[in-house]
């Protein structure tokens, strides 16, 4: 049997990581909720299994999403992951075909050249050696990019690279050493025996001209084995756990498991699947507009894994969702962040045991609700006059009365039976409390407002505020249609209930976060705008839209930083000099209008300006012609 003591570090590392993976997956499976366990079982024996395999190939090996976002960074990840996979695959086949027997232990394939130094001189053997050299070159090219990226991130098209912990640095060094060590060890062995293909062969013969290749090769084989062993043993406590964790994540996601409200196996696997690639950092406006670069998802997730106090990081985020769209691993970042926010005061505690190799739950410390009502001062809901359409302006709309006035005008012009729910100011919808992690308090406000809505007997609820719209859709139990005013106006136009003049204005549209990425309303506002004005592109369309900086999601950010984000966002949105910058969120309107000299208006304002007030009976008696009412908002 071929054996040499230098393979021991590699063997220890390999068997350790395999046993670890089994134990860890048992713990993760045990912690899943019962429905999730069933989902996973169904997924394992169903269509999801095939999809998962396909996704693992495309995302974990080829890294298709990173390639699309950033080709150079994608190539780096692809060459390391896919290249290593090919090297292992073809290495195993090589050892199986050309080795002394079939079904070898893994070290035979990894250190094939050491045990078969005279392999690869003629014919098929040489062609195979050529292929192995090509794969090694492929990996080394990616490694070269990785080393450059660590020191100058701009070369691979990244503005910032993630900062690392000391253990991560050790693991990174061992990862970086693996392939150069293999190259030199193989080259020196090839040099001694005059074998090897274009890469190892030529480097080997050149080195052999002035170096004692035979004696030097052995230490490099040790280095190769040691760096592999170190890497495997450190893998569970460093960010490289993302390599196996992503496989679990893909299987679970395809089986239909979602993050939910509480910390559990799935949110933990998501945290471990983050490769700290840093794409979220480049997407974050708090980074590129305000220069705050310690709160991005990569750092939040690092703090979660390290059991650090996440309250400051978790709260300091605009919750705009730009990172969610771009995460190449598909981590539901906002949902993970919301879990951390809810756990600031209570929730399960975690501890890292076995020097950080396991992260276990300390038991649930959620305090029982004590029946203490915070908002019991809200008035009793009286029986209201029945109506068809209910208009809820929302807090922010009350700060921008032009929006609610315009909506009143549009609703009146439509001739529908409607009523104004919070004409004299109502309670808050509850979303800001939810965003701060106070779900129990938010539920009280939700119950109050729900009661108001039920008693009105309306079949449609229209709101002007995307923040309210999101919470009405997701957290209220309403059996009526909920519309944002852009959707409502679109319906009015489609059903020919309002007629409008065309205003010859060049306008740009800013998609609010909560309406766009938050609730997927992208096209209705644009359709409405095209009815009344000339819509121009901003360069930040739909999923790529910016946050205005006013977001209620962040309660930590200072006014000055908010202003920086607002000014930067406004400058980007108005770079093509539109006459009016249109948005559909009162909060965006308020924030952006303070940050740019361009006129900022809500969509309802331009519609109200363009709308033709229908002939009323009084005017028809006077036989006057229908004329557009002259409103000069702009």
């Amino acid at each position: 049997m071929q054996f040499d003591p230098f393979v021991i570090p590699f063997n220890i590392g390999l068997y350790f990581i395999l046993i670890y993976a089994v134990v860890r997956s048992i713990i993760w499976f045990r912690d899943l909720s019962r429905p999730d366990k069933l989902r996973l079982q169904r997924g394992f024996f169903g269509k999801a299994f095939g999809q998962s395999l396909k996704e693992i190939f495309l995302e974990s090996l080829i890294h298709r999403k990173i390639l699309r976002t950033n080709p150079r960074l994608g190539y780096m990840h692809m060459s390391l992951a896919f290249g290593w996979f090919l090297l292992i695959l073809f290495g195993t086949i090589e050892a199986d075909i050309f080795g002394e027997k079939h079904l070898n232990p893994p070290y035979k394939a990894i250190f094939f050249k050491f045990f078969n130094p005279e392999h690869g001189i003629t014919g098929f053997e040489a062609a195979y050696a050529f292929l192995m050299d090509l794969i090694l070159l492929f990996i080394l090219s990616g490694l070269f990019l990785a080393v450059i990226k660590r020191f100058t991130p701009k070369v691979v098209g990244m503005k910032k690279s993630t900062k690392l912990k000391s253990l991560d640095k050790l693991a990174l060094t061992s990862l970086w050493l693996i392939f150069p060590a293999r190259l030199i060890a193989e080259s020196l062995t090839s040099g001694e025996y005059s074998t090897g293909s274009f890469l190892t062969g030529s480097i080997g013969s050149w080195l052999a001209t002035f170096l004692p290749a035979g004696e030097l090769a052995y230490p490099f084989w040790w280095l190769y084995s040691l760096s592999l062993g170190t890497f495997f043993i450190l893998l569970p406590v460093t960010r490289y756990l993302h390599i196996p964790a992503e496989l679990f994540l893909i299987f679970m996601r395809n089986s239909g498991i979602r993050t939910g409200d509480k910390a559990g196996s799935y949110s933990e696997i998501q945290a471990h699947s983050c490769s700290s690639c840093g794409i979220c950092i480049d997407q974050c406006q708090m980074n590129f507009s305000a220069g705050i670069n310690n709160i991005q998802p990569a750092y939040l997730i690092k703090a979660i894994r390290g059991n650090e106090d996440t309250s400051e990081i978790a709260m300091n985020c605009l919750m705009c969702g730009r990172c969610d769209q771009k995460c190449p691993v598909g981590i539901e970042i906002s949902a993970v962040r919301m879990i951390q926010r809810r756990e600031v005061y209570s929730g399960p505690e975690f501890r890292n045991t076995w020097k950080g190799y396991f992260r276990l739950r300390n038991g649930d410390h959620t305090p029982k609700p004590n029946g203490h009502h915070v908002y019991d001062y809200l008035p009793e809901v009286a029986a209201a006059e029945k109506t068809d359409i209910l208009y809820f302006a929302g807090c922010m709309t009350h700060l921008t009365p032009a929006v609610s006035r315009s909506m009143v005008k549009i609703l009146d012009a439509s001739g529908l039976k409607w009523s104004f729910l919070d004409k004299d100011g109502g309670a808050c919808c509850g979303r800001p409390l939810m965003l701060a992690g106070n779900d129990r308090e938010a539920r009280e406000l939700i119950n109050h407002t729900s009661e108001l809505i039920w008693k009105s007997g309306a079949h449609t609820l229209v709101t002007s505020c995307p923040i309210c719209y999101k919470v009405f859709r997701e957290s209220y139990y309403l059996d009526i249609e909920v519309l944002h005013h852009t959707q409502f106006i679109k319906n009015l136009i489609d059903e020919d209930l309002v007629r409008m003049n065309f205003l010859h204005k060049r306008v740009a549209y800013h998609t609010p976060c909560e309406l766009g990425r938050g609730t997927q309303v992208y096209n209705e506002p644009k359709d409405v705008i095209r009815h009344v004005a000339i819509l121009e592109e901003t360069g930040y369309e739909d999923e790529n839209s910016l946050c205005c900086g006013g977001s209620l999601g962040n309660i930590k950010i200072s006014y000055r930083d908010r202003q920086k984000i607002a000014v930067d966002a406004a400058a980007r949105l108005t770079s093509r000099n539109p006459e009016i910058l249109i948005t559909s969120c009162p909060l965006c309107k308020k924030t952006l209008s303070a940050a740019t000299p361009t006129k900022v208006a809500d969509i309802s304002e331009i519609v109200a300006e363009a709308v033709i007030i229908p002939k009323t009976e009084k005017t028809s008696l006077k036989h006057s012609l229908p004329v557009a009412e002259a409103v000069n908002i702009f």
């Binding site: 908002y375 809200l378 922010m396 800001p432 406000l445 309660i555 930590k556 202003q563 308020k590």
Partner: protein, 114 residues
């Protein structure tokens, strides 16, 4: 015993030196914009909760700074966190963080054990 309509009134002197300023100090340490407030009352004027009850952030702010935390403790939770106050604030005070920090301060036992 005869009652003559006289009683001993509690002293109504506010002794700033003896008041518990720990909550205000905690807030100030975590949210520097706390001291920017000029007590203009814009926040109270726009307040959603203040529309229903006499809830005033301006008042609570003054009480916090004076160290009279009892009334703040009873009232601070009535805020709905809607954020209108921070939008109208002429000084850019991060009002919502102040409220969240105050709530948190009242949950930390050693801070108000006076």
């Amino acid at each position: 015993m005869e009652k003559f309509g006289f009683k001993l009134s509690k002293p109504r002197v506010i002794d700033f030196d003896r008041n518990d300023k720990s909550v205000a100090e905690f807030i100030h340490a975590n949210e520097p914009s706390f001291r920017l407030c000029i007590e203009c009352g814009g926040c109270s004027a726009t307040c959603t909760a203040g529309n229903f009850i006499p809830f005033s952030l301006r008042e609570l702010h003054i009480l916090l700074k004076r160290g009279e935390t009892e009334k703040v403790k009873d009232n601070i939770e009535k805020c709905m966190l809607c954020g209108k106050c921070s939008l109208v604030c002429p000084r850019g005070v991060n009002t919502r963080n102040i409220i969240e920090l105050a709530k948190r301060a009242f949950k930390i036992p050693e801070l108000h054990a006076v």
